[in-house]
Amino acid sequence: MLTLTIHSVGPGVTVQDLGRPGWTARGLSQGGAADRFAVLEAATLLATDNQNAVLEMMGMGGVFSVSADTRIALTGAEMQASIDGTPVQHNTTQLLRAGQRLTIGGVRKGVYGYLAFAGGITTDPVMDSRATHLTAGIGHRLEIGETLQLGRDTDPLAGPMLLPQSDRLNGGTVRVMPGPQTDYFTADTLQSFAETTFQRSPRGNRQGIRLDHAGTGFATSGQLNILSDLIVPGDIQMTGEGVPYILLAECQTIGGYPRIGTVVPGDLPRVAQAMPGAALRFQFLTLAEADATAQSDQTVRRALRQLCQPRVRDPRDIADLLGYQLISGVTPGDDLERPRYDPQS
């Protein structure tokens, strides 16, 4: 039996997976990781099932140890991390030995960091998923002193793997598709929305994030009389003052505010990972263009597998460099072209 012990933990650390689809008709949104792409990255690095549960860490990690050797991977937001004082690279697999301390600090870039284990977290599923859904009362924020069961790592000495860093942690332009209420807004409002640069507000959580901008709001006529209707993650809804909120994984299933459009799923991780103050802009797609962006988890996994490669250690990360026999070493010859990890950048 493999146990994860939580020695200290930030305020927003939960168990997540890809969520529980199929309950919208009963008022329960799918939930799951705020950045699904990071879960697929971790599954690719560790060559595990997409459904393996992981720890999602909002802004701050914690101090963790395991009772038996297991490989881990850190994906999503870049967070300061070390094992017994030795820095841990992001987007790589690492061996965490029994009793070693894995310390994950604050985010350097992004919002939601993920800690995945080769055998997954094996807490009891609720409705076929281990995803914590705080607003639905499923699961809870992890606390100091808690332990969680993990699946065993069947190949702890497998060679370390690396995925390239993604550019989704800095805000940027996200693509929006038309929704059922897009035509409730005038052409002028839609155009002005597409020409505005927004900042991610500090106000936000797994349900959604608020956007700030200079200038007037983006209201519809008859704003307050619109009938409540079904919503999906990615919907951009306008409050009474015309302030946009983008809904995320743990949104409600029905809402009464009008929605100007829906961020396509491929760009939703970029929204979730935008740090407070990061700039976000919107590009409207036609329906056909939006549909063409859709990719199944399997397709994303195939693409990630193409990018996943064995990790060659950077000499700067080797603490006892002088203890190594360097002269007779063989390298692939392309070390200088490979992407490097610089903890200061």
Binding site: T24, G27, S228, D229, V232
Partner: protein, 243 residues
Amino acid sequence: MIQLPPPEFRPLGVDGILVRFARELSEQANQRALAFRNQVDAMALPGVTEVASSLTSVRVAFDRELTDRAAVTRALQIACGKLDSADGSPKRLWQIPVAFGPDYAPQLAEAAALAGYTPEQAIAEIEAQTLRVIAIGFAPGQPYLGMLPPAWDIPRQTSLTEKMPNGALVAAVRQLIIFAADAPTGWRHIGQTAFAVYRPDAPEPFALAPGDAVTFRQISDSEFATLHQNTDTNGGATCKVLS
């Protein structure tokens, strides 16, 4: 009966189509939405993964690996054409006990007065209604029940009640809700049930389904206290499957 315009087909996500029967709530539009949801569910279309209804619309989700928007849209348009004969009658009838004593119904008198009734008249009218689950949402399993007679078209209060107990019966705009959200609300607290609409650890976590018929039966405060302590009966509610 008012003739509804043809339903609107709109995208809702790259894997979903929203079929909207009306932009304003009416019993007729709600019944069409519920009947359409049942019909599409029963058709078991290839690649369709979920069929969810709201007050006047239905979202059909599909797996893009198995089908596409055009094929699902065509199938839904055919289903809409057959809808006139669709059976919208309820499949189940619930009876749910409610306490209306002052401790359990702090805003009953206020809500009754807005509707032009004494509290006793209000209770009698609620007991006489067979309501329908017109939508489920906002919180997991939380039902919107309608429609009450026109006198009950009372607005939400402008101030918010910060904390509504689980199982509270609340009223506004010709509807009742059995409250299940941990959220402030503008709806008025007119009764208390011991009924849990959502139990995540139960084998069947959600009690009610859209389209279910619901009646309420008045019980005394002491009966409520007994039901509240006994967690086996789900608030003393009964459910009859209708043929």
